[in-house]
Amino acid sequence: MNWVLKRTGQSVFTVWAVATISFGLIRLMPGGAEDIIVARIHESQGSDVPAEVIREQVQHRINIDPNAPIHEAYLQYMGGLVRGDFGHSVYLNRDVATILAEALPWTIFLMAISTLLTFGLALSLGAMMAYKEGTRFDISQTGVAILTTSIPYYVAAVLFIAYLGNRTSIFPARGRYPAVVEPGFTIQFIVGSFHHAILPAASFVLTVYGLTALAMRGNSIQILGEDYVRVARLRGLSDRRIALRYVGRNAVLPMYTSLLISIGFMFGGSIILEELFQYPGIGYYMYQAIEYQDMPLMMGTFLVITVAVVIALFVGDATYSKLDPRIKSGDDSESY
């Protein structure tokens, strides 16, 4: 219990620290949303309204006062955060909290598909390669894994969009669900959502699985050489049980941490990926926010990613001992 409190405290501190640092960094960026908005309103409404009036209106609407000294602005923003107020997006003219709440499920959906597919593919392939170590299958798959890993996911995404999305239209190249379908728990909507998620997920899975598969292969080869596997064979256990309970179970232990770390990596990757696929998730909005220097939205998306990674690692720490009995969580000191 003590451990949970300590670990929660650490997590909260991490989130706070990230929020503070990103707040400072964003403030250091030249220009600001205000200038952009003011300029834009100027353009659309003509120049008969004095710039000062517009500027005041804008300042009133957004949660951040760019003229306030940094510590005041900081306190103001953090105070809002504590109340659950992420501020107001200047560019989109909506509450950031609303935007995030609407975008987050889609990003999680996409990331979950990608992560599950990546690890499902990588673990089974890695184990198969280990069992067939040195065969043509192993060598060719190793080559393929290295090749695909060296392709950046956004290059794969562009290729998919060009060939599978635009030229042949097998898969939709943009959007989260078919435009003609109303969101809701209908078959069309769910199937449509998956259909739209295939290309973005594939760009991730196919360029990321390789490293994990090679790591799994290495782990499995090592486990296959362990004494306990040999003894298990002599004891007459079935190959299936040895593969799952002995080799798989022990080879997968080091992969668990990398699975959780990859969640952070995937959120980071989603910025470019969702922009490429025009998939309005967290990454898409972050890209927009950066483009328009929309500070509240930027901060909001930053924080979502931070919180997601912190939660993933928290869960990882808390559950690792269930996976590997040699690791103690909780009050016991960790015995690495």
């Binding site: 306990y228 040999r230 003894v231 002599l234 007459g236 002995y246 590997d324």
Partner: protein, 393 residues
């Protein structure tokens, strides 16, 4: 050995009266880039039912390969050839190398099982000890209830608390506990034969002793045949009825423990005994064996020991000596075994009172060693044994 028939003339030297395992020309080869590595070279050996056979030799002399060969469990890509025959207590002899994969899986652990070098790593670290027992019993279609009762009994025989050990993970047990749990696991399907490959290597001296005495009582209780492989000659000498000495992937000498220790006849055996550390022996008396163990790809011609042997002559280089009988219970593969005691005198004279009452040797049990020596056939006093554990009185 009391179980021996005295008249061995009608039998070949390697045969015993009631063998449980017969090895004939057992050979293990590994194909390697630089040549064929022969890590077990035509070993022919009988294992007498209910005996304790100690197999000794230095590291890399093929001891573990011999153990694996008995279960046809040589690791890939090693190839085992020759003949391995298992004689069940009742029923027909089984040609182990001819068994199907399925029969072999059944044969192992049900008829003959093995305790590996490195008990520390013989349990799956992510599985409770009890589950190892359960899965073994299930894999062999034994009754799980009766099997687990037996497992508990075995653990208790080994002074382990089943309620504590079975639900533990391997890392929660000490080395000695793991080792004993492993012995229990190897006996859970009631095998006739238990092969132990360096079972005490990672344990401290006290734990080695106590495991040894536990093994002795287990052997009595469950009618086991034990094959005990070790480089620790003094240790196995306490337990073994017979000793077999390996050098360079072959057997060089085999005989009753007492015989080997008192009248070891192969120059290698004698040097090995002289090289064994001993509290009673002055340090300057300890003799390392000069030279190095041969490479399995390139074993010397003739007698493989000839480059290191003080008695070697042209005959030894030219041809490999066959086994010759030293006595009824003792044979040796050396042309010059009769000269060995003179050439390589033992450097220690130690009492083995403990073992004496159990042997039926000619007059060797006299408490006074001088008297014992005078009754020996050989003229000089070299045959005292290098029984060395220093604490066996």
């Amino acid at each position: 050995m009391s179980t021996y028939e005295r008249s061995q003339h009608d039998r070949a030297l390697y045969e015993t009266a009631d063998p449980v395992i017969e090895l004939r020309d057992a050979e293990v080869v590994f194909e390697m880039d630089r040549g064929v590595s022969r890590v077990l070279d035509n070993v022919t050996l009988d294992i007498q039912r209910n005996e304790v056979l100690g197999i000794v030799g230095e590291s890399g002399s093929g001891k573990s390969m011999l153990a694996s060969a008995m279960l046809d469990a040589v690791v890939d890509p090693g190839v085992l050839s020759g003949q391995v025959t298992y004689h069940p207590a009742d029923g027909h002899p089984v040609d182990v190398l001819e068994l199907s994969e399925r029969e072999l899986l059944k044969h192992r652990w049900e008829d003959i099982s093995m305790v590996f070098q490195g008990a520390m790593s013989s349990f799956n670290p992510t599985m409770e000890v009890g589950e190892h027992f359960e899965e073994t019993i299930e894999a062999h279609d034994y009754d799980i209830g009766a099997g687990m009762d037996r497992a508990r009994e075995l653990l208790e025989d080994l002074y382990l608390d089943p309620d504590r050990v079975l639900p533990s993970y391997p890392h929660e047990l000490s080395g000695g506990m793991k080792q004993r749990a492993l012995i229990a696991l190897s006996l859970v399907l009631e095998p006739d034969v238990l092969v132990m490959d360096e079972p005490t290597a990672a344990l401290d001296l006290l734990m080695q002793r106590s495991i040894l005495s536990l093994l002795e009582s287990l052997k009595e209780k469950y009618d086991l045949t034990l094959i005990f492989i070790t480089h620790d000659l003094p240790l196995v000498a306490e337990l073994a009825d017979r000793l077999a000495v390996m050098y360079a992937f072959e057997l060089v000498e085999i005989g009753a423990t007492e015989e080997i220790l008192r009248r070891g006849s192969h120059p290698y055996t004698r040097s090995l005994l002289n090289a064994t550390p001993n509290l009673d022996a002055p340090l300057e008396e300890m003799r390392p064996i000069e030279g190095a163990a041969p490479d399995p790809v390139d074993v010397p011609s003739g007698c493989s020991y000839h480059p290191r042997c003080p008695l070697a002559d042209d005959e030894c280089v030219a041809s490999d000596p066959a086994f010759q009988a030293v006595s009824d219970e003792h044979s040796v593969a050396c042309y010059h075994w009769q000269d060995a005691p003179d050439a390589i005198p033992f450097n220690v004279e130690v009492e083995v009172a403990e073992d004496c009452p159990q042997t039926d040797k000619e007059g060797e049990c006299l408490p006074d060693e001088r008297t014992a020596d005078s009754s020996e056939p050989e003229p000089q006093q070299a045959e005292n044994r290098a029984e060395t554990d220093g604490g066996d009185q």
